[in-house]
Each structure stands twice: as C-alpha cells, then as structure tokens.
Symmetry: C2
Subunit: 482 residues, 2 copies
C-alpha cells in the first residue's frame, strides 16, 4: 500500500463526509422504487443542505425534478467530495477511476457482492478496490452498506429519517439496523446527530467512527450495531475511551453460534465468541442489549432518566389484573416496589375511591379526573421510599369507552405539564402497544408529544423495567460517562 492514512486524515475525511460540499450518486439514479441510487439521491436532496448533488448513470436523461443525469462521473461539473456507488460490483473499479479524476475524497459503496459472498474472486476484487483507492488517496466506506445520515450536513439514505438534528450517534455494520434505530427512534421522539452504516469495513473501520464520536461535541450518546471488529486491540482501546466520555449502547450481532454464521455471510465478519465479547464489555464499559427495541429503550432511558436515584418504583394505572401482572414484572426485572409511607396513603386516599381499588403500590387507578394523575405523582414523588413513578395506560378506545382519545390525550399532556413543575422524582410512562388503527393514531401522536415534553415512554412494562434496571446496573458499574 502506498500510503497508510493517519488519524488526522481519517478525521478530515469524516468531517467532509458528514458535511460534503458536493455528492454524486452513481448508478440506478432514475429508479423510483426500492433501495438504490434513486433513493440515495432523493433522500439527500430532500434535506436540501448539500450545495451540489449529482445523479450519474450511463443512460443519462433527467431526474424527476428536471435536473440532468450525467452519463459519467467525469461529466459532472467541478469537483466531487463524496461518491455513492450503486453500480454492480463488476463496475466499481471503473467508477473509482473516474472518481480519482474528480478529486473525490470518500467513495461509499452501497454496491455489495464482495467478500461477504464467501467467493474468493469477489474477495480479491474487494482487495483490489482497496489497493487502488489507497493509491488514489480516496477513502472507502463499505462496501455493502447504506453509508451516512447526517441531518446537519445533508447526507441521507432514509425516506423517514428526521430532518432535525439531535444528539444521538448511530454506528451500525447493518444498514437495516441503522434505519430501524433512526426511523424507529424518531417515532419515539429521539433525534440524531449522525448515523453510519459501514458494512464490510474495508477501509474505514469501526474504531475510526468510535474515535470520531468520542470527539464529536454534537453527540452525547452512541448506539452501535457491530457484527465483527477489524482490529481487536484498537477496538478495545477506542471503545473504552469513548465509553469514558459518553454512554455507549451496543447490540452485538452474531453473539451466538447461529448468529455468528449469519454474520459471516452478511458482512464477512468473524463475530467471535459470546465469552470474548462479554470480557470486552467488562473492560470497556458499554451497555449491552439483545435487539433494536432494547437499544432504543435504553436510548430513551439515558436521555430522559439520567437523574433517577434508584430502583424503588411506584406503579400507577388502571386495572387490577394488569396491576398484579405488572408488579410481578418489575419484581422479576429486579426493581423494587416499596410500600407507600403513611403520609402518602393518607393524602392519596383523599381523592382515590376505595371500592375495587386500593391505595397501595401498585396504585390501581386508571383514567383519573383532571389533575389527579399529577397530584398522585406529586405525592408519591415526595415519598422518601419512592425513586420513580411508572404510569401505565392503553390507547385502544373502543366504541363505548370513556370520553374519546382526543380528550384523553389532552388530559394526559396537561397532567405531564403539571408534573414537570411539581414532581420531585422522574415519571416513566408505559403506553401499551395499540391493537387498533385508532389506537395507532393516538400512539403516533402521543409518543412524539410525550418525548417532546421530556418524558420517557415505553411500549410495555417489561421493556420499561428491563431498560431501567440495565441502566441502573451500568451506572453503578461504569457510571463515568453518564
């Protein structure tokens, strides 16, 4: 290799990648369906930030918005910082040659069909690509990945990713898992600084991004999906260093035997054993999860509950059977349910009726009258035995029930507004997953509104309790980055 890039080279490349002056998408740019050149072009143009975004395809023609499709990268006017390749693997060396002529700095390959196929000639092609890129001073992102989402800098691959900038970073070897974190997280009110899907990690590897996130003042929390690492010792150093500065949650793909075989055919990764990975976790101090739902639950927890003092929860909500099952759930998850103090019980019984309900923990009280939820949370948050209140509710309002969803939403948001002013301890919301179309409409509106109001909301008691317990354990053991 003629030139081994330095850390400073990598840093400059990534600064440019997250905010390029010009982007060219090569291949399939006139396709309006499915993932490919067209979707990269549309998603990036939709953000409206990158000054010049070009479509390149041998057939030429024009895009939906009337702009020209250039037959070759060489036909694009001026230099190009960042190329997104959506051509077949057989064409990438030619496109790289064109890229060299245009002073391209970063070459992202959505193009797949390299080492991950297990085919030697395709693995050789991947190595040849790296050799030529190094010779040309071009950095490679991927291949076999979705690349970059940078709402502040204008690059994007997702149709439903938010345009607003947040403070969560995503690093994912899989594009689908990155999309599920960003798009799924957005629906729960989360916003992101940047996301990277890095696939086969041929040139830019996981630790390059970990280092970048460590120094990134725009990122407070990092979510990772990792199948295998390219450089083990460097990874341990980079992860430990990052986790010292900010919380990091990691979903390890391929941590079982079956998963490890799958990872090998997905990104050509050697996934390593679960034991090794657990040792890395202990050394580096990241938060470990098992799936995308859990990583988003943790992101919600870290974002909204940094100040939760301990594991003693008060449960509030309607339905005796649900209350019993939820008490079992939080107990089984390792949280504690204290008995309320005498003062709390007296104050609560002033407005909570006794028949069929009871002033105990869990507090069996459903849709309370105006102001009562806020009052209950205020009282319990002053109880010295309670660290955190959890309010559970469902949003499938059948034909004959209550006063309708709009009224419920108004009341809940009014209550949250009061609670922010009066509660001494955090409130967690559990909004059961909807079963009806009407319930989903309420959920979509309320999830966003609750997040904006600064409260953590989860779709089940299990998930709330698991995330809270995991966060408390991690803070006890590795709390430096919290």
């Amino acid at each position: 290799m003629p030139h081994q890039p330095t850390a400073a080279d990598t840093r400059r490349t990534l600064d440019l990648a997250f905010a390029p002056r010009s982007v060219a998408v090569v291949g399939g740019v006139t396709n309006t369906r499915g993932m490919g050149g067209g979707s990269f072009l549309r998603a990036t143009k939709a953000l409206g930030i990158v000054p010049a975004v070009y479509g390149v395809s041998p057939k030429g023609g024009t895009l939906e918005d009337g702009s020209p499709v250039y037959p070759s990268l060489r036909d694009v006017p001026g230099d190009v910082d960042y190329v997104i390749s959506a051509v077949p693997a057989s064409a990438v060396l030619d496109v790289l040659e064109d890229a060299r002529a245009k002073n391209v700095r970063l070459f992202h390959l959505f193009t797949a069909g390299f080492r991950e196929t297990g085919d030697q000639s395709r693995a050789d092609l991947e190595q040849e690509l790296l050799r030529r890129a190094r010779a040309a001073g071009i950095r490679i992102l991927g291949p076999n990945c979705m690349g970059i989402y940078s709402p502040g800098g204008g690059v994007n691959w997702m149709a439903d990713a938010p345009a607003e900038v947040g403070r969560i970073g995503v690093l994912s070897q899989s594009g689908m898992n990155a999309s599920m974190m960003v798009e799924g997280g957005a629906r729960r009110g989360l916003r992101f600084s940047r996301a990277v899907s890095y696939g086969n990690a041929l040139d830019l590897i996981e630790s390059d991004f970990l280092d970048y996130f460590r120094d990134d003042p725009g990122t407070d929390l990092v979510l990772c999906y990792i199948e295998g690492v390219r450089d083990g010792p460097r990874f341990v150093r980079a992860m430990r260093d990052l986790a010292r500065h900010k919380p990091v949650a990691v979903l390890k793909g391929g941590s079982t035997e079956a998963g490890s075989r799958a990872a090998s055919s997905h990104t050509g990764s050697l996934a390593g054993s679960a034991q090794v990975w657990e040792a890395v976790r202990r050394q580096t101090g990241f938060l470990s999860v098992h799936n995308v739902d859990e990583i988003l639950d943790l992101a919600v927890t870290v974002q909204h509950l940094p100040g939760v003092a301990g594991d003693r929860v008060a449960i509030i909500g309607g339905g005796g059977g649900a209350s019993v099952v939820y008490a079992d759930t939080v107990d089984r998850a390792g949280l504690r349910m204290p008995s309320f103090g005498e003062a709390s019980r007296r104050r609560l019984s002033e407005f909570i009726p006794v028949a069929g309900t009871s002033v105990r923990n869990p507090l069996d009280a459903g849709l309370m009258a105006e102001g009562e939820l806020a009052r209950a949370v205020e009282i319990l948050s002053q109880d010295p035995s309670v660290d955190c209140c959890i309010y559970h509710f469902g949003v499938d309002f059948g034909p004959s029930r209550h006063s309708g969803p709009r009224r419920f939403e108004e009341r809940l948001l009014t209550a949250l507004d009061q609670i922010k002013r009066v509660a001494a301890r955090p409130l967690v919301l559990v909004m059961r997953e909807p079963q009806s179309v009407d319930g989903m409409e309420v959920t979509v509106r309320l999830q966003a509104a609750i997040g904006r109001a600064g409260f953590a909301v989860y779709p089940s008691m299990e998930r709330a309790a698991t995330a809270l317990r995991r966060y408390l354990d991690w803070r006890r053991d590795h709390g430096a980055g919290a």
Copy 2:
C-alpha cells in the same frame, strides 16, 4: 350453611349461565359510558341470542333502544335465570332478596368493594351475601368481576369481543386480563368458546370452571389467569385432570412478592409462593407464562402448530442485519438453526441472487417475486434437517418503497395459499410490530387473514421463538393433552 351445592348443581348452573333464557342487569343501565350496567346490557343485547334481556334501575325510564327500564327486579315480567349486579355494594343484599323472588339461579356481581378492600366490615358483608344466597339456592359469580362471555349462548361484557364461536376457553380472576385475552386474541384471529372472569371467587371457584372446561366438548384449549386458589388440593386435582384432556396455559398473577401483595388487594387472594406454584405446574402439566402477550402467543402456537416435529428452524426474510440478530434470537431461545442440505442450497440458488444475500440459514431474501416465497418454503420443508420455516417481514411501507402494501398483502396471501398445498412442514410468520398508521392498517387486515388461512403469526422473533420452545418443552414433558 343450609345447603352445600353438589358438582351436578354447579354443572347445571353453569350450563344455564353460558346460555340463559333470561338476563337482568341491575344498576346503571342507562349509562352510555364506562364499564357498568349499561355496557353489560349493550354487549349482551348486541349478540342477539338471549330471548329476554332486561334493564333494571330504581329511576326507571327507557333504554336507547326504547325498551323499558324496570324500577325493581320484581317488576320484570316472568322469571329471570341470570342477574348481573352493577349496584353499589351497600345495595346488593336487597337486590339478592328481589332475585330470590324471581327464581334467579345465578347472581353475578360486577359490584366490587368487598373482601378485596382489606376492610373487615366489607369482608363480613361478603360472607353475609354468601350465606343468604345459599339459603335462597342462588349461586354467586364474583363479586368484583366481569362475569361471562359466551358467544354461543349470548352473554357478553366486551364491546370488541367476536360474535363468532371458537374453541378456546378463558378462565380469569381478572376482568381486564380476560378482556385482553379475548379482544387481543380476536385481533390475532383467535376465537373463543366461552370466557369467565370470576373475581373474588366467593361461591363459584376456579375448580368449578376447570371441571366444566374439562367436560366441555366445545373447548379444545384453556387459557387461565389465576391470582390465588380457594381450595388448593381440589385445584391440583382439577387442573391435573383438565390438563390430561386438553392443553392449558396459565398466567399466574402474584408470583413474586410485589405481585402477591398486589393480588391481595385486587381479589383478596393469598397468592402463594413461586416455589409452590412451580411444584403445582410440574404435578399438573399446564403451560406457564408471564404475561398476556405470552399466553396469546402460546394459544396461536397450540392452535396452528400442533404438528411441528422439532426445534430445527429455517429463517427466511429480508435484511442482513435483521437476519443476524434473529439467528441470535432463536439460538438464545433454545431453538436450533441447521445448515441447509446441499440439495436445498442448489435448488434455492436457482432463483435467489447471490450478491448481498446468501443461500444459507438464515436465508436473506426479502420481498421475493411471485411464487418465490412459496417455492423457498416448499424446498426447505423438504429438507430433512428442517422442522419448521419462519418468514419475517415488516409492514411499514414508507413513501418510496416497493409497490405498496395492498400488493404485498395479495402476494403474501397468494403465497400462503400455495404453501398450504405444497409445504411438508409448518410455516411460522413473524410480522414486526407496525410503527405507522398505514402499517397498523395492514397489520389489522393481515393478522386476521393469516389466522384464517391457518398460519401462526407473531409480532416479533423473540415471541415466536419463545412460544415455540415453550410448546415443544411442554409437549415433551406433558404432551398427553396435545
């Protein structure tokens, strides 16, 4: 007590309770909102089966449908088999006296505020109610419960319960959990023979219903939510006897210390320790679950996968990252992921492209062309190493994706139709929980259609794998009722 009812008495009472000739609802019958007399009356009338359904309330007046409200039970013309009491606890003894005059056989108390409050005078009132009912030859259901849902016989308390009759029985100490099983199960394509919410179990106790379900030719599978049992030795005998005849899944409320305290204030139950309960499970052979979602997952499994031969699964679906995480998920749940045989790989590679995907288990192949899913399942179901195929997919179709949800639904249902004819092994579907209103519309339609087509569908890979593993374990240990 003047008369201890015999098993034959109980059986006759329950036959009548599930198909009464006349029902009277007493209290709150003109209320159109919330749970109470009005909702029982509306739900039962809506089924249109019970010949005479009366509303009783001291205020008199008329119902929405123009029928009269009788000021007292004594004013109702003719005898009444079944009374639903929605009056305050202080009025129940008077209503019972009226019921005696009308030859009432079963007195169901939605009315709460008895023993479960922990108040001695209310516990005394409950005992007085039992004493007087026994003297009058009237059986008591409850108090503090939702009573009976019997789509074949016409009694109902739920706005969204199906009118169609199915073959699943529900026995629940909690009305809310019973509703969640029936209404939630209905959305997943399950149908029910009868459901009972029995609350404080003052007279009719859990084992009376277990015996009834055992002998009920209309019930193939029983789902239970139980907080505490009134007669331990009889419960063990009744449950063992039932579980010998048909599969029984049990959600035990109050199986932790926190849950046990909650159960005591919910239905006045002594919940017993988790160790005792586990011993009962081993002796009697029911399937044990932790929440309502799990019990419905098991019902789907028992209903649609009785013939699954073993734990070796083939996973099919789109997205490399999802495939890796799902392989980890099924491995962690204790299922096995075999390598496909050489013949299967060759036949699959004839139509599955290699770039970015691979002909391995999990098979990374998303929305396949017409007929390809059916072909893949056919091939894999002939592979001697595979017991069961799992196809995973999401239904949140963003603006730019694929050819739209309707087209996807059509293709999937066409494929399922083909698969029913050609597949030698069962196919399980994992339809990820929707995140959008459009996705929920698809989910509501597809869940019902998939169930009708005779396939098991679950909302996540975790839940599918957990239910399948639990069912296989149970069949190995206690398979007689399967």
